[in-house]
Symmetry: C2
Subunit: 437 residues, 2 copies
């Protein structure tokens, strides 16, 4: 089975834990099978590996997310990198072309596309497999998943099937309705359209060639920026007469707000937190290294991270975006492919950062014009290169670097460094990169 996971952009609806460089799918809200913290991405990937161990998974995503995906899933997963955002049709065309040309998936094989962020039961992945099998049969060009509605939601599009069978032809699609209209659709047997569908690889490849002039994956990648923004529904699905739908009856939740997200949490708190007995329906997600104490609260979410602290009535949290826009502070924490960084202290002429490098990872060989730096190795082992001189380092070592000197560090184990930047006009733009051997 070939699965393409669409990894959406960043957003502020889960501030302070999501920000411009950190999307909700990477935040570790959940508990994995061994009790470890787990992100949506890790959760869905673990569920796929369990339900369909032989499937290949490709994440279609923007450049800015590749590092954190590698960091959370490792090297096995395929990544189809979109050079820029161009809506779902170009993204799916690019990922399909990547599967064909890079992964050498055959044209007759089924490909299944699904978003990365719904919260689902394991049976969802059985339905995914069914979708793939149905697409491979070739009765229809597109096979959609239809989610049995639990309430007349205004948030989803609807699929009206021909009949009530497990697998049915699609009669028609409906845009997001109001509640009353949604009730009528449901009375007619309508299903939610969760944006999950399967096709034979060659079907989308042909559609792509029909709509875009390109030779192969590399060529499509190169001209990606020139493509029009167009959704897959608009470009393909709406014009396709041969579409089937497969029913899914399990839980399916969109975890887009703190309200819906905390509903799915296994425990009332993630991180260091204490709730008194009078708290009702209170959830805490605390990424800071200081404790959160909650007393006498009801229907409240508390979320604390390096970028800020949210304390909100759960329903009210859906309206947070304009307030978060108002805050607009510099980002203090980011996870990257090579590890992570966290700003511990910022003064006018200094910046103190804790840097964690994953094993084997290194910084670019670089220098700064207007600042000195001090590295204190606080744990792990690695190699530091300063002005072409190599030196192995371990916990307790201190390296001082004057402005202008070239430097890098290569981690042998997980390597934690306390970096103090000292100088006037400290800026991320003050960085000159060099080749190292």
């Amino acid at each position: 089975m070939n699965i393409i996971l669409l990894s959406g952009g960043s957003g502020k609806r889960l501030w302070p834990l999501s920000n411009d460089v950190r999307s909700k799918q990477f935040i570790k809200f959940f508990e994995g099978e061994e009790g470890e913290a787990e992100s949506m991405l890790q959760r869905v990937y673990r569920q796929i590996q369990k339900a369909a161990p032989n499937s290949t998974v490709t994440v279609a995503t923007s450049k800015s997310q590749t590092s954190i995906i590698r960091s959370q899933l490792g090297e096995q997963v395929g990544i189809s990198v979109e050079p820029c955002r161009r809506d779902t049709f170009p993204a799916i065309a690019l990922a399909t072309s990547y599967l064909h040309d890079v992964r050498e998936v055959k044209e007759e094989e089924a490909v299944i596309v699904c978003p990365i962020d719904p919260y689902v039961e394991d049976s969802y992945f059985e339905t995914l497999e069914q979708l793939g099998q149905q697409a491979a049969k070739g009765e229809a060009n597109l096979v959609l998943m239809g989610i049995e509605p639990t309430y007349p939601s205004e948030k989803y599009g609807y699929i009206i099937p021909q009949d009530k069978g497990e697998i049915s032809s699609v009669q028609t699609f409906k845009e997001k309705p109001d509640t009353e209209t949604a009730k009528k659709y449901i009375a007619r047997g309508a299903l939610w359209n969760g944006g999950v569908f399967a096709y034979k690889l060659k079907y989308v490849l042909e559609k792509a060639h029909e709509l875009i002039e390109f030779k192969d994956y590399a060529d499509l990648y190169d001209k990606y920026e020139s493509l029009d923004k167009i959704s897959f529904d608009y470009a393909v699905a709406e014009h396709e007469p041969k579409i089937q739908v497969v029913r899914y009856r399990g839980a399916w939740k969109d975890l887009g707000t703190w309200n819906t997200l905390t509903d799915t949490m296994d425990k009332s708190a993630v991180g260091d937190a204490l709730l008194d007995e009078t708290c009702e329906n209170v959830h805490v997600i605390n990424e800071l290294d200081i404790p959160v104490l909650c007393m006498g609260l009801k229907d409240v979410v508390v979320s604390a991270g390096p970028d800020g602290i949210l304390v909100s009535d759960k329903a009210q949290s859906s309206f947070m975006k304009p307030y978060v826009d108002k805050l607009d502070r510099p980002i203090r924490y980011a996870e990257k492919s090579w590890g992570s960084f966290r700003i511990l202290d910022a003064e006018e002429n200094s910046l103190t950062i804790k840097v964690t490098l994953n094993p084997g990872e290194k910084m670019n060989y670089h220098s700064h014009e207007r600042r000195d730096e001090v590295w204190s190795i606080i744990s792990g082992e690695g190699k530091v290169i300063v002005d072409d001189m190599e030196q192995t380092v371990t916990a307790g070592d201190v390296i001082t670097m004057q402005a202008g000197c070239r430097h890098t560090v290569i981690a042998r184990t997980v390597l934690k460094i306390l970096e103090v930047q000292l100088g006037k006009e400290i800026s991320v733009h003050d960085k000159q990169k060099f080749e190292w051997k």
Copy 2:
């Protein structure tokens, strides 16, 4: 006018901003006259200086508080240091003896004792002055302030005056009653006993010599630890027939809990915070350098500091002590006479601390057996001494110190240092002090 301010012990009822080394009177909740943040201590001191510019103020306090009092009030204020806590009678006897022997206050002069933490109007200080004048007259040996009750409180003791005059003899004292009894007291014209009273210096000095065998202040200080714990009421007031009471009609609030404290705040937020329009009766005190966003809350206090984050229903916050006891984390922030420190990061074999030294202040000359240290000067100017070698330092300088090496730093201006401690078993007890010249 000689005023003794009794500065009480530390407590956890205003966690996370009060802790074992930081009492509520030092936290900057208020706004001073120029809009700057102001603590209870600073507020009461400013009010005294305004109402009675010629008064001498002495703070009676434990050793652990002297540094922060100096830091907040400067050098003008007198401090009577209790070597250990021994309840109010020994504390007042010691402070009175200090006024007599160290400050050379005459025996006929009036001394006024009041707690440091009530929130009062400026007219309170006029009543204080009246208390002092009345005590100086010598009609009574003790002159108390009687606060006109605003409700039948169970939290205070009551004073029953002989009559309804501005100044009256005291008929009797009553212990903290239940609400019904309090109502009866109030019907009889009872006043709250706020622990504010005045006397001629020689009166308490004589009582002290009656009850404790000591020569002078220095002698009393030396034997302080051997004294019994006894309250001033029990040792003196209950046996004194000649007591008068002066009425105070203004606001008088005990700021012992978040609930009462936030009631007196001028603004809904201190520090970096944003409240949406749907918040009602919400107060935020944020000492962290990241923003707090509150949405849709009612009757909630949010308090964030280096030791933790409290989110509580205001009424419920009165019951926080057992929960704070449960948390029991190491202290991460403290203000001292020489400046302040804040722990930025703690790992198994490292500790990163931001140290701020006030101008002219210095550390002890010291060494550590089991850790190296790195100082990065992030702002200010000073002098560093390492193994008897002096060196002036300024922003951008980096000093590395191996275990065993003796070191200190002397601040010329406010000096901020980023200290990274590196070693196994890092402990505050690993410190050897030496003389420097």
